[in-house]
């Protein structure tokens, strides 16, 4: 589904990602771990299409389409979704209005019937329950005045409504208490299927425990230096990253 081949990315003269190779197939959940400032968020931003980076070579394909030629919104319409590390607040923009616009825009692109207002309200309320948010969120502005945990749950709510094919979770677990973490992990597990793929960026083992990933990769200084399974994450949790640089 997602194929990254020898991808090099920089900002101004500084190299951030160096010869990255990564394939994510349907039904797989990949985890990327690494110290602060090693390029993890850059990788998710590049997949989502954020501007301001220099692509120094390599390929980035999604279902064999070249993502580097596609606009941000076209990537989303094709099925890529990014859960933000720091979701932006938009005062004055009603959550339900925002999400209905988003979901219907994507459904239209996929030749699916757009939701009527009534249909969407019903669906929205249903999914609010899944992520443990109450109905008052239907009247609030996007991320405005939300706590850290509410923002992350609202990101998962969007994923559940949009039903994307490739989901990038950029530190979705940071700032969550134990109960909220369980809710978020359950939301991800319930949505995970043989038809979609996940890329999770995290610093901590605790969410990995819930999610049972297929692969764990370590990103250091812009390079994937090691790949393994869940046990690699456990080793990193215990020993840190120092042993990888010896």
């Amino acid at each position: 589904m997602l194929k990254i081949n020898k991808l090099n990315v920089g900002v101004e003269d500084k190299t951030i990602l160096n010869d990255i190779n990564l394939n994510i197939n349907k039904g797989e959940l990949h985890v990327i771990m690494g110290r602060n400032g090693t390029g993890k968020s850059t990788l998710s931003n590049i997949i989502a299409g954020k501007e301001g980076y220099n692509i120094g070579g390599g390929k980035l394909l999604f279902n064999n389409k070249n993502l580097l030629d596609m606009s941000i919104e076209d990537r989303a319409l094709e099925g890529i979704f990014m859960s933000f590390q720091y979701p932006v607040s938009i005062p004055g923009l009603n959550t339900m209005h925002f999400l209905r616009t988003s979901v219907n825009s994507i459904r239209k692109h996929q030749n699916k019937k757009e939701y009527t207002s009534g249909e969407f309200i019903k669906l929205f309320k249903e999914k609010l329950k899944v992520v443990g948010l109450d109905e008052s969120f239907a009247r609030r502005s996007v991320n405005d005045g939300f706590s850290g945990g509410e923002k992350k749950r609202f990101e998962i709510l969007q994923m559940l409504l949009i039903e994307p094919k490739l989901i990038i979770l950029d530190e979705t677990d940071s700032g969550l208490d134990i109960d909220a973490l369980k809710i978020v992990a359950n939301g991800i597990n319930n949505f995970k299927s043989s038809q979609n793929g996940f890329l999770l960026i995290t610093h901590y083992y605790r969410i990995i425990e819930y999610l049972n990933p297929n692969f764990v990769h370590v990103l250091l200084d812009g390079k994937i230096v090691k790949s393994g399974d869940k046990n690699l994450a456990l080793k990193l949790e215990k020993e840190g990253y120092g042993w990888l640089q010896k």
Binding site: A48, G49, K50, S71, I72, E73, R75, A76, L77, I80, F81, M82, F84, P87, V88, I90, P91, G92, L93, F98, L99, T101, S102, S105, I106, H109, S141, Q158, I162
Partner: protein, 378 residues
């Protein structure tokens, strides 16, 4: 220059000031050049037949010229006393208004008044002097909707005086969409105990618009909530000055004013809230946000708080910037195209300021027209 119409209202020092036409001696006048207006005259008479007023039985409509001709008329106790004799335009209006309205909203009533200027026309070199006094009696609840939609090359010099008696509540909505207008508005309100003025002013376009608002919170628990919106494009110039005076304790004022500026337009926001010495337990906020869509548009923002009492809660702030690129990116990652995302963000930036308008028809008219403007943004 024609003789003064209202000699009784104009004293000799006012006449001297008017004839000099050099009113720009205060901070709030320095951001707009009015010199070119000296070639116009201000003695065109206000023709009441051209301004349409729609009201119900809760409101008495009286004519100012008839009231002025009666000695010791109790209606006129406050007339021309609420508006400060602060600038030349007010003096012109007082000197030359020919007619005008006195709207008396009865006590304990629920009133709705619609004032429209769609048939108003001014001659080439002359300003029309509109004058209306609004008297909101005790415990009345009113919606006043001033709907200014006029494509004429209109020159208008307006004075509104508002008196809010105890426990009255007013939604006063001025919607102005006049692409060719040169408009000077001076509005002043005296607000008594437990009375609330919710003032909404939405200005879409305008060649030269100068709005001055003077609000006096004169008794305990009086309150003013000011919500302003400016949508400017081409060479529009909208200059708003808001002065709020807290004259008694336990008084509250909130100013929110957002502008969106495109093309070569210019916006000015200047607010001065003064909390006087004896006004403990008062609250005042000022918030001005400006969204700049073009590198050729500009804005001056000056939110001033003058606080002469320690036991108060006050806050003020001002931001000016382009559309939030992080918010745009966020929306695009949700499959919303960049142009639509921009429009949604402009919409979100503005609509919170008018959402508290209680009359659904007025709210939807204003929203529809704001959306038309937003949809034309490139």
């Amino acid at each position: 220059m024609a003789g003064f119409r209202n000699n009784r209202l104009v004293n000799s020092s006012s006449i001297e000031k008017i004839q000099k036409f050099n009113f720009i001696d205060k901070e709030q006048w320095k951001y707009t050049n009015f010199n070119h207006l000296s070639r116009f005259t201000f003695n065109e008479h206000f023709n009441e037949n051209l301004l349409s007023i729609d009201k119900d039985d809760s409101t008495d409509l009286l004519f100012l010229n008839e009231l002025l001709n009666k000695e010791n008329n109790h209606y006129l106790k406050l007339f021309n006393k609420i508006i400060p004799q602060e600038n030349q335009f007010i003096l012109y209006n007082t000197s030359y208004f020919h007619n005008g309205y006195y709207l008396n909203i009865n006590k304990n009533s629920n009133a709705y008044v619609l004032i429209e200027n769609k048939d108003l026309k001014s001659s080439k070199n002359n300003f029309i002097n509109d004058r209306i006094f609004f008297n909101f009696n005790k415990n009345s609840k009113s919606t006043i909707f001033i709907n200014e939609q006029n494509d004429e090359i209109l020159k208008n010099n307006i004075v509104y005086e508002l008196f809010l008696d105890d426990s009255s509540e007013v939604d006063f909505i001025i919607y102005s969409n006049q692409v060719n207008a040169t408009k000077i508005l001076n509005l002043s309100a005296n607000i008594k105990s437990n009375a609330i003025l919710n003032l909404y002013t939405v200005n879409i376009s305008g060649e030269l618009i100068k709005n001055n608002y003077y609000i006096n919170l004169n008794n305990k628990n009086s309150q003013c909530n000011f919500n302003g919106i400016g949508l400017l494009n081409q060479k529009n110039h909208i200059d708003s000055y808001i002065e709020i005076n807290h004259n008694k304790k336990h008084t509250t004022s909130n100013i929110r004013f957002n502008n969106v500026l495109n093309d070569y337009s210019k916006g000015i926001f200047y607010a001065k809230t003064t909390i006087n010495e004896n006004c403990s337990q008062s609250e005042a906020t000022q918030n001005n946000q400006n969204m700049i869509l073009s590198e050729n548009s500009s804005v001056n923002s000056n939110p001033q708080l003058i606080i002469n009492n320690d036991d108060v809660q006050c806050a003020h702030g001002s931001t000016t910037g382009e559309i939030d690129s992080d918010a745009l990116f966020y929306m695009q990652t949700r499959g919303i195209g960049i142009n639509e995302a921009k429009k949604i963000l402009i919409n979100s930036f503005l609509f919170d300021l008018v959402n508290n308008i209680k009359d659904d028809n007025i709210l939807s008219l204003i929203k529809d027209n704001m959306n038309k403007w937003i949809n034309n943004v490139n």
